[in-house]
């Protein structure tokens, strides 16, 4: 993909992120952070692409290690966020 297009996407995503977050009440800051932390595990896509046929030795170790760590980040992040949010309930919801 064209570099300029990627920069374009990056800039727009930055504005979008700002608009999305700025009004979140402080009560939800922890799940928000933990949830967005899970999203940062998107690097799992890069890790998968790094584990290629033909990569051996050190390159394979790097790729697989990246994949395992990113997967922990993604799976652990989403589950821990869900666990937290399951506890946030209103009076009627109990």
């Amino acid at each position: 993909m064209d570099l300029i297009q990627l920069l374009f996407i990056f800039t727009l995503a930055a504005f979008l992120g700002y608009e999305l977050i700025k009004r979140v009440p402080s009560q939800l800051h922890t799940p928000l952070m933990s949830g967005s932390n899970a999203i940062s595990g998107i690097t799992i896509v890069g890790a998968i692409l790094a584990v290629r046929v033909g990569a051996g030795g050190f390159d394979l170790i790097l790729g697989v290690l990246a994949l395992v760590l990113a997967t922990i980040n993604v799976v652990g992040g989403y589950f821990v966020t869900d666990r937290m949010l399951a506890m946030f309930r209103d009076k009627e919801g109990r």
């Binding site: 994949l67 760590l69 997967t71 652990g76 821990v80």
Partner: protein
């Protein structure tokens, strides 16, 4: 699979992340939002698996091992240990981005630095350096934050002589090496030398993460956690530029932004600049005391506190890190319910930086089943404080220190606080007479209307609960 189709799926995944984050902004939809975001992640992973030339046996193995570890860690962690868990996950994300950058570096080096198709090699190396440096700082910084939060390392701020200078040298060293590597092929550096410089850059970034978090302690941790969260997103976005992948750039950028905003909100809640939080080593010495405080602290008993609470028509509970340490949240909720049953209006006042993670108190109280309508933010509770009969301060110190409002010589002067001193009566639950994290004596404890209830917060609150039960 057709690259067009893969990219189309990435767009859908990005939309699901955006919708997911949006829904995380409201308590009612947050859980569904998290689910949508996770399905977006699943979609991104599944379509990526259709890319040609992947080594599936290792990939499936890696996914299984990572999923098992992540799932078990998320299930088994205690709610009170949540800050360090989040910090550690953060570090893993940063580490993964660093390793993706490293793997890509090896590929580029293996092809004698000819670069990816259609992209100048200088650009590729620059973004690899960015992913590695940011990812490395996130990894080592997060591991240290995890150590500090879990008590494995001391949570005190440590300031070395020339700390700022060391950090600046590390930062410019790493960035300078990155720049040198980017032009390396042009100025004729040998591949061997390039590899050595790369490894040095990796090491410098890891050391920078350690030294960066070293001077930050205790009550400033929410800022650091939010900042590291932001960095883990930026590392992912940088990795996205390395492999020219739009979903990494969008998702990473969203996280980078949200973390940065949270960081700034935390700083604002303490009325300090980010630079001050990062470099001042707040609380390291404890020498800064502010004005002298007149008077003495008056200890109260559980008995007398019970009679006051029994007669109160409104009570505001102000939790702090001490409640987390004592794991008193369940007892606190029980007390709140008994007070309500007694006809008392009960609210919980939440200061944005109480605890060790943004919103730490909300999570603990939610764990104890406190309905979130009873949790009131600082700005909403303060106008009501003069009408409140009793304020119960549980293991909070600096966030209720009136010196922040009226003592210009105090180091926390200007920090917004919960105005516990305006309530008619104050009970302060505290382990001892020592000062809080900032090392400042709290005038609140010396007021005529304040009674100190010394001891472990959980034991004290349980004592009050028992009094209520016995009187029934």
């Amino acid at each position: 699979m057709n690259p067009l189709l893969i990219n189309f799926a990435y767009i859908i995944a990005s939309i699901m992340f955006v919708v997911g984050i949006k829904m995380l902004g409201s308590a009612k939809s947050a859980r569904r939002g998290n689910l949508i975001s996770s399905l977006g992640m699943l979609l991104a992973v599944v379509v990526t698996l259709f890319d040609a030339g992947l080594n599936y046996s290792w990939i499936v193995g890696g996914l299984l091992v990572g999923s098992a570890i992540g799932f078990l860690a998320a299930r088994l962690v205690k709610m009170t240990a949540m800050p360090e868990m989040v910090a550690l996950f953060n570090g893993f994300g940063g580490a993964a981005s660093m390793l993706v950058g490293w793997a890509e570096w090896n590929r580029v080096a293996g092809e004698s630095f000819t670069g990816s198709v259609g992209v100048p090699v200088e650009f590729t190396i620059s973004v690899i350096a960015l992913a590695v440096i940011i990812g490395g700082v996130t990894l080592s910084g997060s591991v240290q934050a995890w150590g500090k939060l879990s008590g494995k390392l001391g949570s005190k701020a440590v300031v070395l002589p020339g700390q700022t200078l060391i950090n600046a040298a590390l930062l410019f060293g790493a960035a300078g090496l990155g720049a040198l590597l980017a032009v390396g092929p042009d100025i004729g550096l040998t591949p061997g030398l390039m590899n050595v410089l790369f490894i040095v850059m990796v090491i410098l970034s890891l050391v920078l993460g350690v030294f960066g978090v070293l001077p930050i302690g205790g009550g400033d941790m929410p800022v650091v956690i939010a900042l590291l969260n932001s960095l883990s997103g930026l590392a992912a976005a940088a990795a996205g530029f390395v492999i020219l992948n739009n979903v990494l750039i969008v998702a990473g950028c969203l996280v980078g932004c949200s973390g940065l905003i949270l960081t700034l909100i935390m700083c604002k809640a303490m009325n300090r600049s980010l630079a001050n939080v990062l470099f001042s080593g707040f609380g390291a010495s404890g020498s800064s005391s502010g004005a002298k405080v007149e008077g003495e602290m008056k200890a109260g008993s559980i008995d007398s506190a019970y009679f006051v609470l029994e007669a109160a028509s409104s009570v505001v509970i102000i939790p702090g890190y001490g409640m987390a340490v004592a794991q008193a949240q369940h007892a606190v909720h029980e007390l709140g319910e008994l007070l309500e049953a007694n006809g008392t209006d009960v609210k919980y006042a939440i200061h944005p930086v109480a605890g060790r993670m943004p919103g730490h108190m909300n999570v603990l109280l939610a764990e104890a089943d406190v309905p979130y309508e009873q949790l009131v933010e600082m700005d909403d509770i303060n106008p009501l404080m003069p009408t409140v009969d009793v304020a119960i301060v549980i293991g909070a110190n600096d966030v209720v220190n009136p010196a922040a409002a009226d003592d210009p010589s105090s180091p926390i002067y200007g920090m917004p606080i919960i105005n516990a001193h305006e309530a008619r009566t104050v009970f302060a639950l505290k382990r001892g007479q020592g000062a809080g994290f900032s090392g400042i004596v709290n005038q609140l404890y010396f007021l005529e209307k304040t009674r100190m209830l010394y001891g472990d917060a959980k034991a004290t609150v349980s004592g009050l609960v028992n009094q209520f039960k016995e009187s029934d």
